[in-house]
């Protein structure tokens, strides 16, 4: 019967909460935030970090090793690698955002329809989802790109489409739970139309886990987009996309290993940071 007075005190400490949380946060989490902040800044204002162009090289200065002039050296066409990584961040980030948004929106719609209508519609949609989940995500993305053609946006759409099934499954489970709750019945009882009740009650209460999943998907979307870029299914050259940078550097791996290692490490750092942050976010929101 007696509940510990959890609610009253949870609110009193809000003011100093942010500082407290920062002090209590693990160094890994702080580092993860710094990495993501840096990459976002690269994407937003690349000119602040490098004066070189990402696409126009100086042929005379090709394949230079790292030096104060060129932090990470230059590639075979004399383009500054650091500049290419900085300028490339916008492709990876926007691609990942588009991919996650597509997965979230389309998956939520499917899950909502399946969970709320139920019956034959639910069965049909969920069997399709089963099939989608059975095909490896990369294979699915590749098939979609082959159908739609190469390009940054197409790659993002392909990665997003591969994650629709996961989102749909997750949202459907929540919709079915919320759909049975008393407040949804009460909303119908007070004269709500089907669409109004779905919009006001079922959807907002079903999205919690989908949002947590979206945060986790962000990191893997960056990885998938880089993978597609590496395989040549993403942005065409001379776009400085990270996966493409790794692929291009591969030819010089014996003489200029940093051309593959640097963009590769950047991808690893960003993906790990995104995962670390989404895990922390997922833990703090019950």
């Amino acid at each position: 019967m007696t509940t510990p007075p959890a609610v009253t005190n949870a609110f009193s400490g809000r003011g100093s909460g942010h500082l407290d949380r920062l002090r209590g946060a693990s160094p890994g989490l702080v580092l993860a935030w710094l990495v993501i902040a840096l990459v976002v800044l690269w994407a937003a204002a690349p000119a602040l970090f490098t004066e070189y162009s990402a696409t126009v090289g100086v042929p005379a200065e090709k394949l230079r090793p790292p030096s104060p002039d060129h932090l990470l050296g230059t590639d075979a066409l004399g383009r500054d690698l650091f500049a290419r990584i900085v300028h490339g961040s916008v492709h990876s980030l926007s691609g990942a955002l588009v991919a996650v948004a597509i997965g979230l929106v389309a998956g939520t719609m499917l899950g909502l329809v399946a969970g709320s209508i139920g019956g034959l519609v639910d069965d049909t949609l969920m069997r399709i989802v089963d099939v989608l989940l059975a095909v490896p995500a990369l294979l699915l993305s590749l098939s979609i790109i082959i159908l739609t053609g190469f390009g940054t946006i197409n790659a993002a759409v392909a990665v997003g489409a591969a994650s629709v099934a996961g989102f749909a499954r997750l949202v459907r489970a929540d919709v079915i739970r919320v759909r049975r709750s008393e407040y949804v019945e009460a909303a119908f009882g007070s004269g709500g139309t089907y669409a109004a009740v779905l919009w006001r009650h079922v959807l907002p209460n079903s999205l919690t886990s989908a949002f947590a999943f979206a945060a986790l998907q962000f990191g893997s979307a960056i990885l998938s987009i880089s993978t597609l870029g590496f395989l040549g299914y993403g942005a065409p050259p001379p776009t400085p996309e990270w996966g493409l940078l790794i692929a291009e550097g591969r030819n010089y791996i014996s003489s200029a290993w940093w051309l593959t290692a640097a963009p590769g490490l950047v991808v690893v750092a960003v993906v790990l940071s995104a995962n670390r942050i989404s895990r922390a976010v997922g833990r703090s929101t019950p």
Binding site: P4, N9, A10, Y183, A186, S190, G191, A196, R200
Partner: protein, 552 residues
């Protein structure tokens, strides 16, 4: 009674940690339980009664700690003992009957394994001996076919049967003290009575003492020799049951007694005006139910008749109560009346409209006339809406009104149900149970319905809050001329609010009539059983034989 008390709590204070702050919930509580005695710890939720009981058996939640005080078991202070050391006495000398039989048993182990576990923990090794003792115990707590029960899983048993299993576990080693934490709160009244009888019987047989934690003063009055009334973590009053009930000294105990429906045999409610016309006309009734029958399909292809030919009429401006235990068909009946279920046979007229004939759009418009208030205000309010949005929502479903106008209706309704306007922006989780139920009532009233269906609408509330909500419902009915269909398992509450009653049992209506008639001259044996099971009657009668203030 003399000698060392079996359990002696002295000046006990308990705190819970919240982030870095410790907040104290039990303040200097002292009480004694003598051998063979039943002491009831009575209070509302948040009074610290469960915390006190948990500290006795060393089962405080992880964020709780005993600040000071002593808990002496037979003279030995056990309050500072580590958990490992307590293991030796838990189950053997002190045992617990937990609150919720639904969640206290492990769903993936058989009943027999769970009863046998306590024997194994305390050193029984012989499997055959354990098995035979388990069957013996299950038989002792009144379970039929104990060998079969031992092989069954918890989900195959009813709530009352599960509680019997938990009692079997508690008495397995014949402990000296049983801590019973709300042992019957989720059960039907007749089941409740049988369970409490069983605890009484076992107590007499083994000479066990019982510390009974309950919010129900009626239960406490019937079963305990002494009452300890707690509020806000402090003891307000304690004394022999009969004397305390006859003449409570503290203001809080007086209020608790006045609010407890089962102890209050006087009806304070003004009767509704009698109809002016001599003969009834169809228009006098807001709801007419004729021969309602509802079948549910079963997995094996057959059907289960949940409601079997129920008929009653609900006169405008009055309250009709449907009374029955779980499985009596009362929930199915009201779900048909508000249009959530289509009955298999029979007719329901609400304000002259046959709702079975309505189709989707018409049914939606019809809902303005009849609104449902749910039992559990923690589940019936959307956790993501605030109070204003919750009450406003039904208005959005019908004719479009201006935002200002909607705000005015919500605010005036909030005043009507006795809530402060400062609560408008609050989310449901920041409200108390009583406040939530008021919000739910406001939401039901905002469409100005003629009929309000109240599904166990006060069962989840503390007695004092329950009394307040019942008073509110009474005022609303008088001021707005509302008609209520009041569904409850609690006859004591029904007596306070209803004009007429239908008693349901296994889908059939066993009795129907004016409330006084049902209470004073029940014709069916089932109604008599129900009436006898109302807790608090024997306690009150015992108290009445005492003149106020006299000692035992």
């Amino acid at each position: 009674m003399s000698g060392t008390p079996l359990l002696s709590i002295r000046d006990l204070s308990v705190s819970y940690r919240e982030k870095d702050d410790w907040s104290r919930v039990v303040h200097g509580v002292s009480l004694d339980v003598h051998r063979g005695e039943v002491v009831a710890l009575v209070g509302e939720s948040g009074s610290g009664k469960t915390t006190t009981a948990q500290s006795v058996i060393g089962l405080l939640p992880g964020n709780g700690r005993i600040d000071q005080g002593e808990i002496r078991l037979d003279g030995t202070d056990i309050s500072r003992w580590p958990s490992r050391r307590l293991d030796a006495i838990r189950g053997a000398r002190i045992s617990l009957i937990p609150q919720d039989p639904g969640s206290a048993l492990n769903p993936i182990r058989t009943i027999g394994a769970q009863v046998g576990e306590i024997l194994k923990i305390h050193g029984w090794r012989d499997k055959k001996a354990i098995a035979s003792r388990v069957v013996e115990l299950l038989a002792r707590v009144g379970l039929t076919e104990p060998e079969l029960r031992a092989r069954q899983y918890p989900h195959e048993l009813s709530g009352g049967m599960k509680q019997r299993v938990l009692i079997a576990i508690a008495v397995a080693l014949q402990p000296e003290l049983i801590v019973a934490d709300e042992p019957t709160s989720g059960l039907d009244v007749t089941v409740q009575r049988r369970i409490l009888d069983l605890i009484d019987e076992l107590r007499l047989e083994f000479g066990t003492s019982v510390l009974l934690v309950t919010h129900d003063l009626g239960v406490a009055a019937d079963r305990a020799g002494r009452l300890v009334v707690m509020q806000g973590g402090r003891i307000q009053e304690e004394g022999p049951t009969a004397a305390l009930i006859a003449a409570p000294r503290s203001a809080y105990a007086r209020r608790l007694l006045a609010d407890a429906p089962s102890l209050d045999m006087t009806v304070r409610r003004q009767p509704r005006p009698e109809p002016i016309r001599e003969r009834d006309e169809a228009d006098d009734f807001a709801v007419i139910v004729e021969d309602l029958t509802h079948d549910f399909p079963l997995a094996d292809g057959g059907t289960f008749r949940a409601v079997d030919g129920i008929s009653f009429r609900l006169r405008r401006g009055t309250t009709h109560a449907l009374v029955g235990e779980s499985g009596s068909g009362k929930t199915t009946t009201i779900r048909s009346i508000v249009g959530f279920e289509k009955p298999t046979a029979g007719r329901i007229l609400v304000d002259g409209t046959d709702i079975a004939a309505l189709h989707r759009a018409d049914l939606r418009r019809f809902r303005r006339k009849i609104q449902l208030v749910y039992q559990n205000p923690f589940a019936s309010l959307d956790p993501r809406q605030n109070v204003f949005e919750i009450i406003e929502e039904p208005l959005l479903n019908f004719d479009k009104r201006e935002k200002d106008e909607r705000r005015r209706s919500v605010e005036s309704l909030l005043d009507r149900v006795g809530l402060s306007r400062t609560l408008l922006g609050r989310a449901p989780h920041a409200l108390s149970g009583g406040q939530r139920q008021r919000v739910a009532i406001a939401r039901a009233l905002v469409l100005e319905p003629q009929v309000l269906v109240l599904d166990e609408a006060v069962s989840a509330l503390d007695v004092t809050v329950q009394a307040q909500v019942l008073k509110l419902l009474d005022e609303l009915q008088r001021d707005l001329g509302l008609t209520y269909l009041f569904v409850s398992h609690d006859l004591a509450v029904v007596r306070q609010i209803a004009d007429s009653v239908s008693v349901l049992h296994r889908g059939r209506q066993v009795e129907s009539g004016p409330v006084e008639q049902i209470f004073h001259a029940p014709t069916s044996s089932y109604t008599r059983d129900l009436l006898a099971a109302i807790p608090g009657r024997t306690g009150v009668e015992r108290a009445r034989t005492l003149s106020p203030g006299s000692d035992r």
